[in-house]
Symmetry: C2
Subunit: 402 residues, 2 copies
């Protein structure tokens, strides 16, 4: 008997948009202000109308007129078919807390991974969810939860973050991470660090113990060391598999063949705590064979990570350059805020339409303030899972069509 | 006789929102669909109403009823005070090309600058505008124009970008820059570079000659050198004034006094070319005494720089950390796209309300696809100016209230 739910091929799409237990809240237009104004205006008009019609002999005709006026007014309101600011209102099934994680989107298929490794991935994702979940269940903060979940994935060689990160062209593991607090909009990030064991914890220190948001390279390492974070020899990040990937890509480069390796393995987490606060964080080794101090979207607030209690928390994974240009994480928040889209609509459209149309591979995990989860991706798979208060963890890897 | 217009204290606000020659386009709600539906519904109601009232003897009373129904309907429409998608419609005076530049927002006042230096600033801003304007007038691209304008400001020791950049805590000039093409959404950025003479040109090379968007530190320098850009000894960036600023701030730090120096001098440019393409770019030395490889908003696409032909081009200046957390440049574009705000409304509200309310100093220059210009700032001054096809450059430094 397993103590978690593993969603296999064929059922991913459903749960990705409609997780069990997460109340699917209804959309109600906040038209109350408009109605109040309208009814106020109508009352005045009716008063004037009544005085004029006072001369009419037939009281029945006046009732008809009153009815007509109300009818016209109602049609006037409903005919105003312009975009309205929609807000989530029904929260009867809002969960007490939620955590959602990803371990990267990419060219992932069962044959390539094999059953043993698949189990390893599932176990580790479950461990990360449960670590974050324990914190949330005990009333801890969403920031603590996302950091704890990501620390576990950073320490695991299966994912492209921390131990297990890919190698740059120079044969070094250059790590990026960021974190954001949806309550305060505080944020922190590190980029291009090579000696910090848990980059997401360094990002958190930048957020909390520096006046800055982004620190890079040696400066970021100096800061992290000063903050008492665990520093490691760059060799700590070595894994044979990632080293071999680099050699394979370099060989293809020498043969002037296009690099067909799909990068995957960035990790991320978003969470909603009992206090109603959202947080998001992302950690990565970036692209294998990256050159010239390349920085992707993961440490860029607004691109790879965003959290705002008023809308949602987002962590992205994919071809970072496209995610930067399209300001993906913030765009989900902006669509919810300005267009009244649901987290599902906003995240789904950006990943499956906007980014897919420009061949930008990737996905996001997004969680709104009411606990609604979206996990869209336009690749063959995305390591992902969520845990809702009082329920079992749900984990998935492949897409429906696999 | 001057061949340009210098707007002095007291008239800034007007031209900032209503530049001469830039057609001030009217905002017309796209409520036509709503009206058609409404009028259609009304016609039917009127027909029914007329049949009922047919029994009324007095034709005058029926006219009163008709009038009343129309009045109620109109109030119904106007009482629908929900956000509507607004679109710029009148483009009869859309200029053939426009370029707008800034040289930083901050604690700028006439006494501090003095008349001689004020003239130096004005002359240099004019030179930059005219360099960009020449390119645009000859049918060149907005990308070429913003790069050329910024190169002139980077080469001038008056501004905190390129030569004249502020010093980091380590006594080094660490430069950041970015550029974005509104047609393709391509973008490039460099951060923490110390040897590239013109960082904005390196950002452009990243955009055009690399598969990446952001390159940092030595890697970015190696790339720029490989692209044939002019490299300089780090000493090239030394200026006595900036060095003295660093010493002053360090002294205050030793005395544990708060750093009251307002950072200013970031440079930026946005342009609209004859082909209708927008571009934006920003270049800076960041904050004096910055530590640990701090990167601000200037090289962050979406924070300090953004351009999209569908909305606007933006370059920001100010307290970068706040601009990152609030994704300022992209937020202006998002409000225009999703809420139908004008460039003036979006940029003005973000700078003067949202950022001001959290004590986030700074400003932006923003230019929409129809040539409308916004240059809001919430500090005592912002070096700024614009040049519209067929007109004289307009330059300003101080705010109205100075």
């Amino acid at each position: 008997m397993t103590d978690f739910k593993y969603v296999i091929n064929g059922s991913v799409d459903k749960f990705a948009t409609d997780p069990p237990g997460v109340g699917h809240v209804s959309q109600i237009n906040t038209e109350i202000a408009g109605w109040v104004l309208l009814i106020h205006a109508l009352t005045k008009i009716l008063a004037v109308g009544k005085r004029i019609i006072h001369n009419l002999k037939n009281i029945i005709q006046m009732k008809v007129l009153n009815g007509l006026l109300m009818l016209v007014a109602m049609i006037g309101v409903f005919a105003c078919n312009q975009p309205t600011v929609k807000e989530k209102t029904t929260i009867e099934k809002k969960p007490e807390w939620v955590i959602v994680i990803h371990g990267g989107a990419g060219n992932i298929n069962p044959e390539r991974i094999g059953p043993d490794k698949e189990k390893d991935y599932i176990d580790k994702l479950k461990e990360a969810l449960e670590a974050g979940g324990r914190i949330l269940d005990n009333g801890g903060s969403s920031i603590d939860a996302v950091e704890a979940a990501i620390n576990i994935l950073e320490d695991c060689p299966l994912f492209n973050a921390g131990k297990g990160a890919v190698f740059s062209a120079g044969g070094v593991n250059e790590l990026d991470a960021s974190i954001m607090d949806g309550l305060t909009l505080n944020a922190g990030a590190v980029a291009g660090v090579t000696r910090i064991k848990n980059p997401v914890s360094a990002a958190r220190k930048v957020m909390e113990a520096s006046p800055h948001v982004i620190l890079v390279r040696e400066g970021a390492e100096e800061f992290a060391k000063g903050q008492g974070l665990e520093m490691v020899d760059p060799e700590y990040f070595y894994t044979e598999e990632r080293w071999n990937s680099l050699q394979r890509i370099k060989e293809r480069e020498r043969q002037q063949k296009e690099d067909d390796s799909k990068k995957s393995g960035t990790v991320g987490a978003v969470a909603l705590d009992r206090q109603g606060n959202l947080a998001a964080a992302t950690s990565t080794g970036g692209m294998t064979n990256k050159k010239w101090g390349r920085v992707g979207d993961s440490p860029i607030i607004g691109a790879g990570t965003y959290a705002d209690n008023n809308t949602c928390a987002v962590s992205a994974t994919g071809h970072g350059e496209y995610f930067i240009r399209n300001v993906v994480a913030y765009d989900i928040s902006a669509r919810m805020k300005y267009s009244g889209e649901s987290v599902d609509q906003a995240a789904g459209d950006i990943i499956n339409n906007k980014l897919k149309s420009i061949n930008a591979d990737g996905g996001v995990i997004a969680l709104d303030k009411n606990g609604n989860i979206a996990m869209p991706f336009n690749t063959t798979g995305m390591f992902r899972g969520y845990l809702v208060a009082g329920q079992k963890p749900v984990i998935a890897i492949f897409a429906k069509e696999n």
